[in-house]
């Protein structure tokens, strides 16, 4: 059965909710075993040979989530509140029963609550990017690749320690 537009939307919404509710260990479960979370610095780069903002395989994602949930990660104390908004969802043609490519736009609002007198606190920020999700059917539809190219991916970033 081909992945429907509604199913793709529902999977991405579910992911957004898990991230926003900081259910990060559940988030790990959305990926295939060989799945990748990739924030490239520019279009067309080779993630093994050129720098990315993030390029996480399963091990990398597990470490990132462990650091966020179980360690003193100062730039996430207090943790970022986030709101992931997904729109402009399009299904690429050529999908099969087991593979689909979904494109979307992503806007993430982020806030670390605190005194506005303190740098980095009390100010809402917005990140925007283009998303590319490769989904694979493996005991349900899973994320084989989450690639987000941020509008400002090659610009100086401030505290990008939450998951986009």
């Amino acid at each position: 059965m081909l992945l429907t537009h509604a199913e793709a939307e529902s999977l991405l919404y579910q992911e957004a909710r898990l991230l926003d509710e900081r259910r990060l260990e559940d988030w790990l479960g959305l990926f295939t075993e060989d799945g990748l979370y990739w924030l490239p610095m520019a279009e067309g780069t080779d993630p093994l040979r050129e720098p990315s903002l993030a390029y996480d395989d399963a091990g990398g994602r597990a470490q990132r989530v462990y650091a966020l949930l179980h360690t003193r990660h100062h730039s996430q104390i207090p943790p970022s509140r986030t709101l992931h908004c997904i729109s402009n969802l399009e299904m690429e043609p050529g999908a099969t029963d087991t593979e689909a490519l979904v494109r979307c736009n992503l806007v993430v609002y982020e806030l670390r609550p605190g005194h506005r007198q303190q740098y980095g606190m009390g100010k809402m920020r917005a990140l925007a990017g283009r998303g590319e999700y490769r989904l694979r059917f493996q005991d349900g539809w899973k994320i084989a690749l989450k690639k987000i190219l941020l509008l400002d991916s090659d610009q100086p970033m401030t505290n990008l320690t939450f998951i986009v």
Binding site: L39, M41, A42, L48, R49, E50, P51, S52, L53, A54, Y55, G59, G60, A62, Q63, R64, Y66, A67, H70, T71, R72, H73, H74, S75, Q117, Q118, Y119, G120, D154, Q155, P156, M157, T158, N159, L160, T161
Partner: protein, 411 residues
């Protein structure tokens, strides 16, 4: 004003303090740009960023916009990015390749060597104008060392080699991480933090903070790595800090930080072939090398510090690929440096959280003095001026602020 700076850095044999106004006074920031960044050698780019004729990148020396270009003959120029006519930027792009730069205001054209190539509708000017305005203003001095390009806007500086002084052999060790002595600086992981530029300068050769600031990274490594954590800067007390005249310093610890060279025999054998076993051991030891006033060389990256405002700084952390080594070693180095010091990495980001918090705290005027006296009593002072102490010493920061004071007080 110059004399007053001596009041802001207090040094006694067992006490070293700096005043918080170094972080909170906008006038001091402006003076730093003039008296430090416009008066000494400043790192501007790596040669590998402009590998072929016509390549350029734009950057800043303090607040001064510059173009670092390679002309048609392959010579490197550092040119002020301001049209000689009415002061417009002649190049807005961060990097690219061009034979000429054309001012988009009135169309004056400059060669990539800086030479004025043409004035549009020149009949409106006396004939001498082309001679008087020979081209874009060049930096007073430009020099490269092991691929690192430095420029000085003042000609009252020693040679670059002399300026590097005692830190130069460490730059050699860093460049020799490539058996062919060639590194390629990639597009940087770039950060903007809300804090003064000196926080990052102080931090990169500070061996006292990692076990606290980087608890997250150490806990994560300990949880996931099957082999013992090698990063001694945070977990052990071995290693050293060396502060040098000129404001430079070294944080030194045995063994590379992120990757274990014993896993890469093919790579270390290549180094040993070139340099012998003893020097190879020195090359692959871990160093954070601070070259005052704006660059760190750390194992797999070049970390460039760009002051923007009193309370805003940009850091460009360029991953450096090593030429002449097996591909898989570079793949491992990139993965490691990105995980530690990249934009979403676990180490650099927590440093910057501290910088923002420190900048926030400096508003507390009841506590105007910051203490940098750690290990003053045990510091070994060499005839060369090098001061060496254990890895938790604040010898690096003291070296830096002595040079800060020298430059800020110079007439």
């Amino acid at each position: 004003m110059a004399a007053a700076y001596a009041q802001l850095i207090r040094e006694a044999p067992d006490d070293f303090r700096i005043h918080t106004s170094l972080f909170t006074d906008p006038a001091i920031f402006e003076e730093e740009m003039r008296r430090i960044f416009e008066k000494t050698w400043v790192y501007v780019a790596h040669e590998s960023e402009i590998p072929t004729a016509g390549d350029y990148r734009t950057t800043y020396i303090g607040k001064q916009p510059v173009i670092v270009s390679r002309d048609d003959e392959g010579n490197i120029h550092v040119l002020l990015n301001i049209c000689r006519h009415r002061g417009n930027l002649v190049c807005r792009d961060e990097r690219g390749s061009a034979g000429t730069f054309r001012c988009n205001y009135h169309g004056w054209v400059y060669k990539n060597s800086g030479e004025l190539a043409g004035i549009s509708h020149p009949q409106g000017y006396p004939e001498s104008v082309g001679r008087d305005l020979s081209g874009l203003l060049p930096a007073a001095r430009v020099a490269t060392y092991r691929g690192l390009i430095f420029a000085s806007l003042s000609d009252q500086v020693p040679s670059l080699e002399e300026h590097l002084g005692a830190v130069r052999p460490y730059v050699d060790l860093w460049a020799d991480l490539s058996p062919v002595g060639e590194v390629r600086a990639h597009r940087p992981h770039s950060f903007a933090y809300e804090g003064n530029w000196k926080f990052q300068m102080e931090n990169g050769a500070d061996g006292y903070h990692p076990r606290f600031v980087h608890e997250c990274a150490f806990q994560t490594m300990a949880h996931f790595l099957s082999r013992p954590v090698r990063d001694s800067s945070g977990m052990q007390d071995i290693g050293a800090i060396r502060g040098f005249p000129g404001g430079h310093s070294i944080l030194e610890r045995p063994g590379m930080v992120g990757i274990d060279p014993s896993l890469f025999r093919e790579y270390t054998d290549l180094l040993a072939e070139q340099h012998g076993i003893e020097r190879t051991q020195r090359i692959i030891a871990g160093y954070n090398i601070l070259i005052f006033p704006n660059v760190y060389l750390m194992d797999s990256n070049i970390r460039v510090i760009q002051p923007i405002r009193l309370d805003e700084t940009v850091v460009h952390s360029h991953y450096t690929e090593l030429c002449g080594i097996p591909d898989y070693v570079n793949v491992a180095r990139l993965k490691d440096v990105q995980w530690r010091l990249g934009t979403t990495g676990l180490i650099g980001t927590d440093d910057m959280e501290i910088f923002a918090a420190a900048q926030s705290a400096m508003q507390a005027s009841a506590m105007p003095w910051l203490r940098l006296s750690r290990a003053m009593d045990s510091e070994v002072i060499e005839p060369s001026g090098e001061r060496r102490a254990d890895i938790n010493a604040e010898s690096s920061q003291r070296a830096m602020y002595r040079e800060w004071l020298r430059l800020m007080s110079a007439s």
